[in-house]
Symmetry: C2
Subunit: 312 residues, 2 copies
Amino acid sequence: MNLIEKELYHVEKMIKADVVKEKSIKEIYKYIFKSDGKKIRARLNLISSSINRKKKNRIKLAAIIELLHTATLVHDDVVDDSSFRRGNESVNNIWSNAHGVLIGDYIYSKAFIYMVDVGKKEILKELASATNDISQGELVQLDAINNQEITLTKLKRISYFKTGRLFEAAARTGALLAETKPIYIKNISECAKNIGILFQIKDDLLDYSLSNDIGKPVFQDLKEGKVTYPFFFAYKNADKNTKKTLSNNLGNKKANTKDILRLIQAHDGISKTEDLAKKFHKNAIISAKKIDNLKIQKEMIELAQLAYEREK
Amino acid sequence: MNLIEKELYHVEKMIKADVVKEKSIKEIYKYIFKSDGKKIRARLNLISSSINRKKKNRIKLAAIIELLHTATLVHDDVVDDSSFRRGNESVNNIWSNAHGVLIGDYIYSKAFIYMVDVGKKEILKELASATNDISQGELVQLDAINNQEITLTKLKRISYFKTGRLFEAAARTGALLAETKPIYIKNISECAKNIGILFQIKDDLLDYSLSNDIGKPVFQDLKEGKVTYPFFFAYKNADKNTKKTLSNNLGNKKANTKDILRLIQAHDGISKTEDLAKKFHKNAIISAKKIDNLKIQKEMIELAQLAYEREK
């Protein structure tokens, strides 16, 4: 186990240890944190703050990032009416939408309590801004539902706000905690932002896969009417008739996924999205190489690689 | 217009002025803040901070309190599946649950951005703790649904957490901003807490009324299966058969409200709840009289009176 892994273990321990007495809250809270996610955002935060390992509150800050991320996931499942998360049933599925909304608020405000403990104004500011941007990204995405006319600019903005932004904030707050040079803060934040957007693009790609191994149902975006990159590119390249077929299947819970995937592939939806992923991967590597701490540079490149190659 | 009214006008202006460019978010945001609520919490906050009118950020802090309150209302409407709020259709009704969840998160994180601007650690701490308690109160209330065996202690805890807590935090943060004596902070917070609990008890009472004038549908608690004070006291006093009738109507959307109200009245459900309201009103007055600024003392007593006598 390397150092970051050990630290992540402590992050997990901290999150799991701090539970209220109230039985019903405890039960849902424990359920949410029982399945250990990849914690890629907390990891990013720890890598970033590792430039000054002696600083206090490194574990707590990583826990904050993980809590914030989890709060948005729980709310997302209500928003998307999803029944599964990381291969497990979602809170809104086992309990109810009401429980999903409220436990999300509970986790978010808990993160907020931790932030006040850490007590650095620039960190609070960045996390307040990031969580506000995330909600904006999600709200803009609701507009994108059943909207074939959405622009690439808007899609990129959604990817940045709903995913890239927290990656960026994880890196920036880690660097802020470490009280390091502004150029380090800038480079690692830029790199993290690119990794985050890449992560989202891969997410959109994985949703258009026939595999059952990715831990959640596939073709959800299409079925929910959510226009993402693969659909967007294919639709743009399609002739009038194909456009019609694609439109008819957007938001169709019973869409024939094999046929649709074939259409999307035939109209370069997958390959163009892969090109975009490649581009953000490249940007991530370029910004990583500007980080003048070689160990951290290497770890960021590995993260970019992980995001680029992930199959689930 | 007295000073507090003028200040409340500026609170409203501040909230309404600060909107993102994104058209769809703007539209929902404006809709939420178009109907001017009573702003009793913001008022309380301004009264509390008025002990030192020269302090910066008094308007901003009151806006924060109002934003936090509004965020919880918007989420509450999703949680309770309510179609109306203050006589207007709810966000989840006009748009969707998804919009309700996300715009609630947006407003909450916006309040958080303002808080960082104000930048006082004790204020951040109090508001983080209060918002966490509110979500706990709401979660505990979900347990109370269709639960006739709930205790009076638990009901009081729900009233405190879901309503009293933000009243208390509004007063405490106002006093903290004013940088006044600890005894003032203590007395005004205690008074506000009592007013808040009283406010909630009156809310529970008003739900058991046959009037259509209260700006929202009545008998919602009963129909949602929510055990509140009137039901609780009546159920406790009822014989076996009446208990059965009451139970059968709990959570029954088609309950005969006239008959149920008669049963609840006959078993002292209303009068006992009124006694409880009287008790918290008295406590509020007692703690108000400890406040050694006579102007503020008078304003707090007026607020307690307003909460006690409100008919909507």
